[in-house]
């Protein structure tokens, strides 16, 4: 009688071991040979700030790397601003440029950002922007600097469509209250007692044990050269880049837009228009606050979104969503926001005509942020606006 083969016992852990070793081999190959720049793709460049929320780390010098899009160095000063250290106090007596990622210029060299280009034109400009900020957080930055005694010549808020659209009711309400210190931010909080720390550690472990695809992706991009190469490095090889895009392994930047598609519908009114109205309300509130508190000019710099600037991309996006392009309008949110701001007496710089007239490629191949060309155009428009509309001549 045949004897059944005995099944080896307890092979789960050895199998885990083999998988770990196999993965380690692949990972090491990518770290050392195939993609040694992997650590520069995703950098830990933020920390908690008790007033600003998330903000850049101070004294940061990091490389931002994403082939074939950009390979630049980001520097921050000792206070975390994307600005010079020596002379920053002088800059704070000039124009304040507030905004989010486009104004921060995450994928720009320091001297390519529009605020730095204004500086090159003789204006003293303090870049207050933060890559991870929404407008509410930038208002806190402005208010904090005012509370420290700094006084600008003017305050400019850059709004890039369609990221700038959102629900700002709470931010408007906060503007009427004393500046709040976010005591839940770890940097503002004492470490706590040993038992509190232990509880926190256990909670962190429990959270880490939860399976979340987003969290796994976040960990992989920070810790794996192989994953980072698949996600980013592969773009450095044109044939693979095209292939991954074609088969859908990589997100096509032209098919991404944070705007609810309803907002793009070419009709007089949509339910999503409240987002535009909220952005207008916030701008009005900030304008009033700046006027009352600082008595200096305030203006909004409106920057059109990628689909507004690239009609062909918008057509693809509409086809991707299965919508009829003829019933949609990529410029609608921008147009309505601009109209709302003007109607409420908020000075607006519309950068769209100059950007559209340039006939240049104004973003990165795989990222919708403004590239150096776009920053140069915006800087030119802002300089003209400062001189002609706000009556502010260069300081130098």
């Amino acid at each position: 009688m045949d004897q059944a083969p005995t099944k080896p016992k307890g092979w789960v852990l050895p199998l885990c071991f083999a998988l770990i070793i196999g993965a380690a081999f692949v990972e090491l190959l990518f770290r050392v040979v195939i993609f040694p720049d992997w650590r520069d793709v995703s950098q830990a460049n933020f920390e908690r700030h008790p007033i600003y929320g998330t903000f850049q780390k101070p004294n940061m010098v990091i490389r931002r790397f994403n082939p074939p899009n950009y390979d630049v160095i980001n520097r921050t000063n000792s206070r975390g601003f994307r600005d010079r250290d020596e002379g920053f106090d002088d800059d704070l007596a000039g124009i304040w440029a507030a905004g989010a990622s486009n104004s921060y210029g995450a994928f720009m060299e320091d001297d390519e950002i529009f605020s730095a280009r204004l500086q090159q034109r003789g204006y003293k400009v303090a870049n207050l922007s933060s890559e991870g900020h929404r407008l509410g957080a930038q208002i806190r930055v402005v208010r904090h600097l005012v509370s420290q005694g700094y006084r600008p010549r003017a305050v400019l808020f850059e709004m890039t469509l369609n990221n700038a659209l959102g629900e700002y009711g709470q931010d408007i309400a906060d503007l009427m209250k004393p500046l709040k210190i976010q005591t839940d931010a770890p940097s503002a909080r004492q470490d706590g007692t040993a038992s509190a720390l232990l509880k926190r550690q256990v909670t962190r472990l429990k959270k880490a044990a939860r399976i979340s695809w987003l969290a796994i992706k976040g960990r992989l991009i920070n810790n794996s050269a192989f994953y980072t190469w698949l996600k980013v490095g592969i773009n450095g090889i044109p044939a693979l880049r095209d292939w991954t895009l074609k088969v859908g392994l990589r997100a096509d930047v032209t098919l991404v837009d944070p705007t609810p598609p309803g907002l793009l519908r070419d009709v007089p009114e949509t339910p999503n228009d409240v987002l535009i109205q909220s952005a207008v309300d916030l701008s009005v509130a900030v304008k009033d606050w700046v006027g009352q508190t600082l008595n200096v000019p305030f203006a909004i710099i409106l920057v059109p979104g990628p689909h507004h600037l690239n009609p062909k991309d918008f057509s693809r996006y509409m086809r991707h969503l299965g919508l009829d392009e003829n019933e949609m309008d990529a410029t609608r949110p921008f147009r309505l926001l601009k109209q709302g701001l003007i109607a409420n007496g908020v000075p607006v710089l519309d950068t769209a005509p100059a950007l559209l007239a340039s006939d240049e490629f104004l973003r990165f191949p795989d990222d919708g942020h403004m590239n150096a060309t776009a920053h140069a155009i915006v800087a030119g428009e802002v300089a003209k606006f400062l001189a002609h509309e706000l009556g502010l001549e260069p300081d130098l």
Binding site: D37, A194, V202
Partner: protein, 404 residues
Amino acid sequence: MIPGLVPMTPGAVSFLALSGALVLLAWSPWRGRFIVGLALAAVVMLASWLRPLDALALGLFLAGPYLAAEILWGRKDLGGGAVSWIVLVWQIALFLVVKRYGGFDLLGGLGHPVSIIGASYILFRQIHLVVDAPYIGHLPFSALRYLSYTSSPWTLIAGPIQRYDAFCKGLDLIGRPQTEDVRKAANRVVNGLIKAFVFAPLFLAPSSVGTLALPESDWIDFFIVLYGYPVYLFLNFSGYVDIVIGAARLCGFTTLPENFNRPYLARNPAEFWTRWHMSFGIWVRHYVFTPLSTFLIKRAPPRFGGLMMAITVMVTFYLVGLWHGPTSNFVVFGLLQGAGVVVSASFGRWLKRRVGKTTHKAIEAHQGLRWLAISLCFSFTCATFLFLNNSVGDVIGSLLAFLS
């Protein structure tokens, strides 16, 4: 440093890959050349840490003992002679300079241009080789073996400290282990990873004594601080040892010594050091305690034998403390441990004299008393470990603030 390659520590992806490569080599028909692979792995691991100047310093650090071993190998007539002493003094001086000990901080003015990873453990092995080279001439010795022995990726960063004869025996055993042994070794690696990288970190942050100064800290916090760091240290260190012993055993290299034997079940501090970081304890006994006690006892009148032994213990533990780090907290740790060993040994002898051998044996066998001794020893160990994790000022200041 190699671009893209972060410094390798056990548990790092690159370390696991390197271990995997060694396993494949050990299981392959080329296992006869394993020593070449091991030396190459040592170079890769070192290269992941060292900048060019560090590599130069390491070359200097490795050269002296190697040359001495070449000269002394199998030469019993040269044992304990001038060559050994000169190289030992030179090597220890180099170590003190590289590690920036007070009084030897010669490179401070240059902004500490060099740092050698694993220098302590390399030094332990070098001292063993230089001292014992005349008596182990029957073993093979070469530059490759020297590099692999002193800087093996398995034991470079934190041991265990292996004797050269066991290292050579381990090399002879390289090959594919029995299936059950493969399973056990792989189990050990995975368990080590879980201990060191999942559970150990839970206890590190809560064990900072500074938190006791907070007004809201209570006695629960006190016990978390007191016992947290020892738990962290054990999980981290023994987890690390599990990883490296498991990785070596997968290659058939079964002679890496164990480093822990339920250390927190020790009944007194002397026993603790036979269970905790055992390979270090054995090394210290061989190369510090035994020669020093022999030297002192030989020169002192017999009635001072106990005193000489106590002095030896205190000097040994002073050095143990200094080895853990050059700052005063480590010295305090060593002296407290030494005092613990002296006091517990004296108490044991006094008790034996007082109650007699039979009753003493009965006391030792008593389960309740045994557990009392274990808990006292554990608490004492934990109290001294406060100084491994915090400065003396922090410990005293925070405890005073807590008690006030």
